[in-house]
């Protein structure tokens, strides 16, 4: 027992292996029997995660850590640990997987054994990527999650599945292979270390940061997907089986956002500063574009897919705002989107199982045929468009507040995404559930189907009413993220004046790193002609400069301690 407690994360990550082993032992004659086995295994994983969730200290850094040397000659460790955000993502994965199993109960009729094995293998990759604290390990899990999803779409998908699965694989791989170059480069540049706790503490030169950031960010942007890298997503979502769509929308996309949160942004602060306007633009374009394109979709699954592009735009917008509101909102939005969109895909899977069409125009008046089902669907749809009181509202609201504090213009444009969301979702609901009855009569939701979505509905309400159960766990992690990612970014002060007249253009970005600062001081001492800081009396801007230099001094004195703080915490954790 003690052993299990010490290696709880390993047990969580590899607990699906137990299911895989048991499933492969079931003879093909009794293939239907694999479903309860898979369900049992995924619920076991979920229970372990619940245990960790309850034991998680809200006041800590990375917890439940395990460090085992893996490849000593390359300094690669099997290093696991969770902070609030990873835990939230692990929880999301472990909640959605049993529901995927339940959702495919009758949908999958061919090679059930392989299906559940692949589903559980996918879970291993996802859980591992969220728990890994070693960059090499992270990369391995990052790739491990990819292959099962490829098979899931390719074997059990519909329509153009072979083309779509290959498109999904190649698109994602373009990012991954470039990321591999980035991983190797980061490893060599930071003293042959893959330790994600120490990487990025010592900032690299700016041009190196920019290239490394690009190599990571493209990989994550494809996965998220950020506009304009999103084109694989609608195809993959549409052709995937229900379980595949749920996992894709629910967790896969979050892996990309998590990559931004954990790796790309905290490690390369100067690159973040450099690319920040671009990311703001891409996120905003993604939000509006995704929402507008959703509106004109005729295929329901495609509609949900494009709405994901829009929702994930909010996540990126929140992350790049780099203030507590925005980032917590983004993390919450990651979880909420997983819950709501997962529920939408599960529910639509039920409808698809009855009518075998995805065209919105083929439906009509479902509310009169299946009132109970329609009620639940509309409830989830409303949560997805961000009705106050339900989960998505909290995330979107916080994100927009954060974005408004950072760059009001983008926040204002992005807010239209919320309106468009209401338009496309309500319009689609109207066309499918109301109006003339176009479809034949079928059974309403069965008890099994209701139980499948019940956990998600509970979460939708719970997180809408008490978002604090999640926020309290992520706040430390978020603070830490901002501390790192915002090292080179100086935002406008958060006073009322600045909100009214925002100063969002800055000529010279200030670098607050202690070593850099010292270098500059040495330079200025060496060349007295270029005394910038000591002799700023040129024009009327004196007051401005004074405040700025005052700020610099503050940061200069505060800088080193701030940077060192996580290190000490790390040591305590060890």
């Amino acid at each position: 027992m003690d052993f299990i407690l010490k290696h709880i994360l390993t047990f969580i990550i590899f607990s699906p292996l137990l299911g895989i082993a048991l499933i492969s032992l079931v003879p093909r004659k009794y293939e239907e029997g694999v479903r309860p086995v898979a369900l049992f295994s995924s619920i076991l994983t979920f229970l372990l995660v619940v245990w960790v969730w309850l034991r998680f200290h809200t006041d800590g850094f990375f917890q439940f850590r395990e460090v085992i040397s893996w490849v000593p000659s390359l300094n690669i460790y099997y290093h696991l640990g969770v902070d609030g955000v990873s835990l939230l993502m692990v929880a999301l994965t472990s909640i959605l997987t049993p529901l995927c199993v339940a959702g495919s109960w009758v949908e999958i009729k061919t090679s059930r054994k392989e299906f559940y094995i692949i589903l559980l293998a996918c879970e291993i990759g996802l859980l591992g990527a969220f728990c890994a604290l070693d960059l090499f390990l992270f990369y391995v899990f990052w790739e491990v999650m990819l292959i099962p999803m490829y098979f899931l779409i390719g074997i059990w998908g519909s329509g153009n599945r072979i083309y779509v699965s290959l498109k999904f694989l190649l698109y994602t791989l373009v990012g991954s292979v470039l990321m591999l170059v980035g991983v190797i480069a980061l490893y060599l540049k930071s003293g042959n270390s893959f330790n994600m706790l120490n990487l990025g503490i010592v900032a690299l030169p700016k041009n190196v940061q920019i290239w490394l950031f690009l190599s990571f960010a493209v990989a994550f942007a494809i996965k998220v997907p950020m506009w304009p890298f999103h084109t694989w997503l609608p195809d993959a979502h549409t052709e995937a089986p229900t379980a595949g769509s749920v996992l894709l929308a629910g967790v896969f996309l979050k892996a990309g956002a998590y990559g931004f949160y954990r790796i790309a942004m905290p490690y390369f602060p100067e690159a973040v500063e450099y690319f920040r306007p671009l990311i703001f633009i891409l996120a905003t374009v993604g939000i509006v574009y995704g929402a507008l394109v959703s509106m004109v979709q005729t295929d329901f699954k495609r509609l949900i897919a494009y709405s994901s592009v829009s929702h994930l735009g909010f996540v990126i917008l929140g992350l790049i705002s780099l203030n507590p509101e925005g980032v917590s909102g983004a993390v919450l939005q990651m979880f909420n989107h997983g819950v709501s969109t997962g529920a939408l895909f599960l529910l639509f899977g039920m409808l698809y199982g009855r009518y075998h069409t995805r065209e919105i125009s083929d439906y009509g008046g479902i509310a009169r045929i299946a009132p109970f089902y329609s009620g639940i669907f509309i409830f989830v749809g409303i949560s997805s468009l961000g009705l106050p009181g339900l989960n998505n509202f909290v995330g979107e609201m916080l994100t927009l507040i954060g974005a408004f504090k950072a760059k009001p213009v983008f926040a204002i444009i992005s807010a239209t995404g919320v309106i468009f969301a209401a338009v496309y979702m309500l319009w689609a609901v109207e066309r499918v559930f109301f109006g003339k009855i176009k479809s034949e009569h079928v059974k309403d939701m069965s008890a099994r189907e209701f139980v499948t979505v019940l956990p998600l509905i509970i979460l939708i309400v719970l997180l809408g009413v008490f978002p604090n159960i999640a926020i309290s766990r992520i706040s430390d992690s978020v603070e830490n993220f901002i501390l790192y990612a915002k090292r080179s970014v100086i935002d406008t002060q958060e006073s009322g004046e600045n909100v009214i007249v925002p100063i969002y253009e800055r000529k010279e970005p200030e670098i607050i790193l202690p070593e850099m600062k010292m270098n500059e001081e040495v330079k200025s001492e060496a060349a007295p002609g270029e005394e910038k800081y000591s002799d700023p009396v040129d024009t009327e801007e004196t007051t401005d400069v004074e405040t700025e230099s005052g700020k610099q001094n503050d940061e200069n004195s505060g800088g080193p301690t701030e940077v060192e703080q996580p290190q000490t915490e790390t040591q305590e954790g060890q």
Partner: protein
């Protein structure tokens, strides 16, 4: 004298096995054919054991009987083990094929073992004449093996391989002559006073060209697809694994020797060769319909990745050695495993190996389908298989040496390769059976099944716990 013999035991046990098999086949007419296979495997295993003992003992055979001709250091001994493993895979996978096609078993094994012995000489030679002898020992049985099937395509493959092989040997010899002319010696790593630079460059180019044929590096790769396709399957596996590994091992020695003379030129030459080999191999493989041909081009591409090792071998020889040997081990299991799997599927005679024939395999034979998928994914470089780690190690080394662009070219190449490695997987898992596919037989070929399973286990284990093998290989 005794000590010398003791050190020579790895090679002696191979020669012993050859002699015993030759004698047994001519003395006992009615001997079971399995006995030959057991003899051959026993001989190779004995050789592995002796090599391993020598490796552990750390006493090298050098300078005593044949001064500066061969050296049995740790590198040579570990190379012996790698070459032996590749040969064992071939021997085991060939048995069913030979019986099924009514071919002679004993002669086949003798040829394989002779070629292996040639590989040993190559791997341990420190003298260009020794290396030439090893090269011929390695190649001559291979020419016969390519035509062992006695079918038209097999004969064509044999002739093609022979003519081009002879040309490459000749080029190599001319290179040796220039080397002698430039330095006044034919030993590698000897202190040389007078160096004629243009002549040594010419010699280097010629010698590398000669070995370029053996490792199928561009622009000397033309024979590969035809020979790989025409030769009997186990022989193709032998070409792709053992012969390629032997050539790469000696290439490493030659490279280090030439690096002493002109570091810049060697690296430039190899870099260009590596880029061309990877790119052309991968791009051509995209359009192959035949699985054997696809694997042939894939082996060209992998030769390109392995050539990357030499871009940093001069700067960091220890790491380059580790990377090369680890890649070779992993490559032997991946490619050898896939060829054996193909032998397992085609069974008797059925030599048509189009990719479309894999359709529906996942239903008929889930285990073999799974192994094929894992091996192909490993070739494509997905973690947690050995193929990924091998590539990672090489890329890391290249990056460390400062060739960032080269790494980017290499990863883009491995991205391209994913497309064609996925095609058989698509066929196996995603497509329904339509048209001709591999016949089902009631017989179970245990030897091929064993090799396939071994490859699967090794590919996964090497990927998950690579550190043991890295330390062994790196010493």
């Amino acid at each position: 004298m005794r000590e010398i013999l003791y050190h020579l035991l790895p090679a002696v046990s191979i020669v012993g096995a050859i002699l015993v098999i030759i004698l047994a086949v001519s003395w006992f007419k009615r001997i079971q054919k399995e006995a030959f296979v057991i003899l051959a495997v026993a001989g190779i295993c004995l050789s592995i054991w002796f090599s391993w003992q020598g490796w552990l003992g750390g006493i090298y055979f050098k300078d005593s009987l044949f001064p500066s001709m061969v050296i049995f250091d740790k590198f040579s001994l570990i190379s012996f083990i790698i070459l032996s493993i590749a040969s064992i895979l071939t021997v085991l996978s060939s048995y069913n094929y030979l019986i099924g096609n009514n071919l002679r078993v004993a002669e086949f094994l003798v040829l394989i073992l002779s070629s292996l012995f040639g590989g040993f000489i190559l791997a341990s030679g420190t003298n260009l004449i020794m290396i030439f002898i090893g090269l011929e020992m390695l190649s001559l049985p291979a020419y016969i093996l390519a035509g062992y099937d006695k079918t038209a395509t097999s004969g064509e493959a044999s002739i093609k391989y022979f003519i081009l092989g002879a040309v490459s040997s000749a080029i190599f010899l001319v290179g040796v002559a220039f080397y002698y002319g430039a330095t006044g010696t034919i030993g590698l790593f000897e202190t040389i006073n007078v160096v004629n630079r243009p002549m040594i460059l010419l010699s280097m180019t010629l010698i590398f060209a000669g070995f370029g044929f053996k490792i199928a590096a561009v622009p000397f790769q033309w024979w590969t697809p035809d020979v790989y396709q025409g030769a009997p399957l186990p022989v193709t596996s032998f070409f792709a694994t053992m012969i390629k590994a032997a050539a790469f091992i000696v290439f490493y020695r030659l490279f280090l020797a030439f690096y002493l003379f002109s570091e810049k030129d060697v690296v430039t030459l190899i870099t260009v060769m590596a880029i061309l080999t990877m790119t052309i191999g991968n791009l051509t493989a995209l359009f192959q319909e035949d699985f054997k041909r696809m694997l042939a081009y894939s082996s060209i591409a992998h030769a390109g990745y392995m050539l990357l090792v030499f871009t940093f071998a001069g700067v960091n020889p220890a790491q380059a050695k580790t990377a090369l040997l680890y890649y070779l081990v992993s490559y032997i299991f991946m490619t050898g495993g896939l060829f054996t799997l193909l032998t397992h599927l085609t069974g008797k005679g059925n030599e048509n190996t189009e990719i479309s024939r894999f359709a529906g395999l996942s239903k008929k034979n889930p285990y073999i389908a799974f192994v094929a998928a894992v091996l192909l994914l490993s070739l494509a470089g997905f973690p947690p298989t050995s193929g990924f780690f091998a590539k990672f190690y090489i890329f890391k080394g290249v990056f460390e040496a400062g060739h960032t662009n080269l790494v980017i070219i290499a990863v883009i190449n491995s991205l391209i390769s994913v497309y064609y490695y996925m095609r058989p997987i698509v066929s196996i898992y995603f497509k329904q059976e339509s048209g001709p596919s591999f016949e089902e037989t009631d017989e179970v070929y245990y030897s091929t099944l064993g090799v396939v399973t071994l490859s699967l286990i090794c590919v996964i284990l090497l990927g998950i716990v690579p550190f043991k093998i890295l330390t062994i290989v790196g010493m």
